[in-house]
Amino acid sequence: MINALDPQNMNNFSEASVSVEIETEDMTLNIGPQHPSTHGVLRLVAKVDGEKVHDVKPVLGYMHRGYEKLAEVRTYPQITTLVNRIDWVAGFSNEIPFIAGAERLMEIEVPERAKHIRLILTEMARISSHFVFNGAYALEVGALTPIFYAMEDRERVLDLIESVTGGRFHPNFNRIGGVKPAAGAGPTSKKNIQDLPAGFYRDTKVAMEKVIEAADQFQNLIGGNEVFKKRTKNVGVLTAETAEAYGVSGPILRASGVKSDLRTQTDYLPYDQFDYDIPVGENGDCYDRWDVRVKEMVESAKIVLQAIDSMPSGPLQAKVPKVIKVPKGRTYVRAENPKGEMGYYIISDGGLGPYRLKVRTASFSNVSILPIMLEGALLPDLIAIMGSLDFVLGDVDR
């Protein structure tokens, strides 16, 4: 009944060892693929001794759709449709590094306005992803109310994404060289090209103020709750060294105290024009991972507010050839997605489609840490730790 790995419980552990231990056979417990807390179809095969879990073995592949193979038989514009579906909670941000990679190989300079629209929608996707995390994580530790608030607030952000792109989850909005004309903007003939829908700036301002308010509400409702703190503080501690060696990235890495954010380190979108903080945790426990994400929501909202204030005018599309052929070459473009580093390694041979497309997803590396983090945890902690990693199975299996 006591988590021996937890240094806080060491004195409890010595108490337990006084009593006579009965040798019992371990039970193999299959958690998933159909289980309320596995975010899709992750399956964990764990040995349980009462409540204590050890030898956790994740079994993947229930969601494997072979995108890397499919990409080899598609043209570049068709691939954006595929990559949308990798991390469906933040569909928009999956497109960005791929499109940026193709543009880099073709040496296209994207118009500033298109870049700003991309940035705004990427940050909105991040906010919506973190909303889902907030609701789902509270649900996993047993609080039933926050998910209703989270979903309601997320809807406001999704409506905005929909008003621009026409899709809530799978926008398929980016084009090589820029972005698609907005939804409801009429045919894409020369004269009728419109970009953002009417009232977008006003609605965005309202929605972002609400996001900041909601983050504050979460800090009180979830973060301030004593039971929540008890469940998450000093649970599932991940050190920076382990995280680095396993390629764990994103909010999980930052919660372990590493100040690393690809938004500031690379230039796939013009983040350097805006003023924002990178929240960093201290202990690398479940609470910090939750906390970092809530703070990130506020920062993202701030970025969006700044971006709509400084939105440049201009075209939405650079000049691109009618049939897109990417010159021979190879490049790796990575981006800071809601779940961590997402990157595409494109090997082009000068054809209509890539010769090989390697998709590096954040959740894959993040989940690979599970067997280490879950060793010796209690069953409720298993759920708390798994939830705090915030993975999506589409992002793990691809």
Binding site: V73, P197, V258, S313
Partner: protein, 181 residues
């Protein structure tokens, strides 16, 4: 980027910088040493990914390379440094008839799952890997799906209707007026 590239160039003669990505080619025998060196001397501690490419002129899916290539597996890893922007890809070629290479697990523990994926997708054997078993594919699945010789059955049955991009790109974006508030 330039400065880091020059540093790398001093140790690895074959390094090339194209499209903002540094690539080093190493021999398959120096695979482990090269990674150890990059990790310890260049502080590239973050293991991003490992994957492979099947180079072949005789392909069943997609387009074949235009120039003739010698058939081989190219194994690529991507390493980066969290403190700054340094990023590097390391690649090596191995023979297709006997595809094996040393496992990177002792250098980067995170290589575990990536190597399992490459193993099932390409049939590459990573030596000294503790549990080189299937990661995604079900037990009893035969074949290595990511090989260029592995057919995409659905495409064989029904040709892809979307070979041509139907919607043309907007030619000019001269309408500068942006109807927004």
């Amino acid at each position: 980027m330039e400065e880091f590239f020059n540093n790398i160039k001093e140790s690895f003669k074959d390094a090339v910088l194209e499209f903002e990505t540094i690539n080093i080619k190493v021999g398959s025998t120096e695979w482990i040493e090269a990674h150890k060196k990059l990790r310890d001397e260049f502080n590239l501690k973050f293991f991003s990914w490992l994957s492979a490419v099947d180079w072949d002129n005789d392909v069943s899916v997609g387009e074949a390379p235009k120039e003739s290539v010698s058939p081989c597996f190219e194994i690529i890893t991507c390493l980066s440094d969290l403190a700054n922007t340094n990023l590097i890809t390391v690649s090596t070629s191995i023979d297709k008839s006997d595809p094996k290479i040393d496992s990177l697990i002792e250098v980067y523990a995170g290589a575990n799952w990536h190597e399992r994926e490459a193993h099932e997708m390409f049939g590459i054997n990573f030596e000294n890997h503790p549990n080189l078993e299937k990661l995604y594919l079900p037990d009893g699945y035969e074949g290595n799906p990511m090989l260029k010789s592995f057919e995409l059955i659905s495409r064989e049955v029904k040709p892809w209707p979307g070979d041509v991009d139907v919607e043309g790109m907007p030619e000019e974006s001269e309408s500068d007026e942006t109807p927004d508030d």
